[in-house]
Symmetry: C2
Subunit: 343 residues, 2 copies
DNA sequence: CACGCAAAAGGTAGCGCTACCATTTTTTGC
DNA sequence: GCAAAAAATGGTAGCGCTACCTTTTGCGTG
């Protein structure tokens, strides 16, 4: 009668403990570290919990223990296939650990990122995985204040907040364009969309490679801030052709654009690679099965997700890796679409 | 000196209240319902919170208030483009509401789904969005016990746990195959992968349409439980051709397979649609830009995500929709790949 | 100017769990 | 066989916030 607050009506740990004939704290231990109990009590608590259908209250647990078993993941897009591979690696690596993944989507917005970071901060995750190295000063301050293991993925750079795993987009694109140069192509165009920092750095690789070969010409460049798509690849390529009809190859900022370019070539009866060589970036699954197969830069996205989680888990367990920055590199996958130019 | 437990060292609401010169409960109200404060106190609390860099403790809030502001989302795959559109709709619709999305990935595993549901149950989400209508009895029991608004998406069926928004995969595939029949194709193959329940129902639509036209022949069918991919589409199509060389059209269980089939046709110098008609399912972005453009069944995935969130939010606010099952339908996008057969 | 009423603000007591000891029981070594 | 060490178990007191209720304040009215 004197109850001040309506009970939730759900089974609590105390009820389980009572049925099992142990103290609440023993029951609590059962859920966190069953080995600490004697086999008989362990058995009793297990069956009591099952009988009552006990579901632990995570909020209470988090409040009392001052921590959670959540790893926060911040990525800029769910639509982009690149991230789905990373996520697969993340989910696979977290499987079997007690940690669950909390995913948030910044939609390429730096402000959204700040906001989501603050939300994560309020949740006190055990670890954090964030995309890229271009956080705002504000975001970086939040990250540093969060005091949990953290990995920046997709890129590598000089000043990790904590850890990093990625590769150099600039070097990768440099390698792709240098390959085209080595194959004998001269008027090599660049098609780019969604000019986020990673795409910018890829463009930097293109620019450097072209300058190194004394082939750089701003008229060969066609970019847009619009989000990437296959259709857009065709459009940009068409625009590029009208600006520079003499191009003999195109380096695409990503594979979607490359496929769009291929379709546009088919529409215009341009044969690939005889009339137009194509290289992409990321080596998504369709690149190898396209006709002709398309050259691309393979990036180790799945492995990136896996490593990030592994590093976070190790750090949570107290084993911070000795080398905080891991370069996963890339592989140039040379296929028919960049076969040497017949002289 | 008598402290039993180390304080977390973080700013608490009490500190903010003290600095603002109000009681803790008033400060609490500021964060939940600022309008309830007089303008002067509102101002004072706001600046105190800012000055101290206060971050609310969500665990404590959830424990005290017995609820969270999280909508749980359970999907079977992050790799499949179909779901990324749904997710985009979900994120867009939740934007601006106070609710945040907690995403979990079942990886097409029913057991994983059960486990994740139990995790959600422990978190007491304010609402839930789950994929499909094929939950285990166990999962369904958990769903029913959760006592929060819930939408099943992607399909519609007779017995919603709470609400549903989707369309009939069987009817959609029936329409696609009937279209091929109407165009004059007779030996229409079916290529399917990842034979989950949704794919099974699509196959049912194919079977019914073929039987209705007296064209059904089990030799025209090529399916595999292997996860879907573009490459796989080519492989399955090649297998199908060796089993039934006389086919004149293929209906593909999804668009990735359809693109794989197109590439395989290009490799074999089969012209589409003259030698081989192709239809896909979902109408992903690349279908319209392929050469030739590929016919597909457009499914309203983005809208599905949006509607699901809208319905959950309405239900949380107490306005359960009068009609719990929403059929978003589909549109047959007829393109060149299924142009009428020349007699 | 007292009165009533609504709006604003505050006091108190948990929400369900676990940290931190203290205590009891069991095992081990000689 | 006994002391010492180790393992298992229990009691108490919060974690930081909000629900519930009470008290105070502001303001129009007879």
């Amino acid at each position: 009668m004197e109850r001040k607050r309506a009970k939730s009506g759900e089974i609590r740990l105390t009820e389980v403990a009572k049925l099992a004939g142990v103290s609440p704290i023993t029951a609590s231990r059962f859920f966190r570290n069953p080995e600490a109990l004697s086999p008989s009590k362990r058995e009793r608590v297990a069956s009591a919990a099952k009988e009552l259908g006990y579901v632990p209250n995570l909020a209470a647990r988090a409040l009392a223990s001052q921590r959670t078993e959540v790893i926060g993941v911040l990525i800029p897009s769910l639509t982009n296939n690149v991230f789905s591979d990373v996520l697969r690696g993340i989910y696979d690596a977290s499987e079997g650990s007690r940690y669950s993944i909390q995913l948030a989507n910044t939609r390429y917005s730096i402000l959204q990122e700040e906001q989501l970071l603050r939300l994560f901060q309020a949740q006190k995750p055990a670890g954090l995985i964030v995309t890229g190295i271009d956080q705002t000063a504000e975001s970086r301050a939040v990250l540093e204040a969060m005091n949990c293991p953290m990995v920046q993925i997709m890129e590598i750079g000089p000043a990790p907040v904590d850890m990093m795993v990625g590769f150099s987009h600039q070097d990768a694109e440099f390698a792709a364009v240098s390959h085209l140069v080595a194959q004998g192509f001269q008027r090599i165009g660049f098609v780019g969309a969604q000019m986020d920092p990673r795409m910018q750095r890829r463009f930097g690789g293109y620019r450097d490679a072209m300058k190194a070969a004394a082939l750089f010409d701003p008229r060969l460049i066609m970019t847009t801030p619009v989000p990437t798509s296959i259709t857009l690849g065709g459009t940009l390529f068409a625009d590029l052709l009208s600006k520079a009809p003499d191009i003999d190859a195109v380096s695409c900022g990503n594979d979607d654009l490359a496929l769009g370019v291929l379709f546009e070539c088919q529409r215009r009866q341009l044969s690939v690679p005889e009339d137009m060589a194509i290289v992409g970036f990321n080596d998504l699954e369709f690149m190898a099965s396209a006709v002709p197969p398309l050259t691309s830069v393979r990036t180790n996205r799945y492995e990136m997700g896996r490593s990030a989680v592994t590093m976070v888990l190790a750090a949570i367990a107290g084993n911070h890796p000795p080398e905080p920055v891991v370069d996963l590199g890339f592989q140039l996958m040379i296929r028919e679409s960049s076969s040497p130019r017949r002289a």
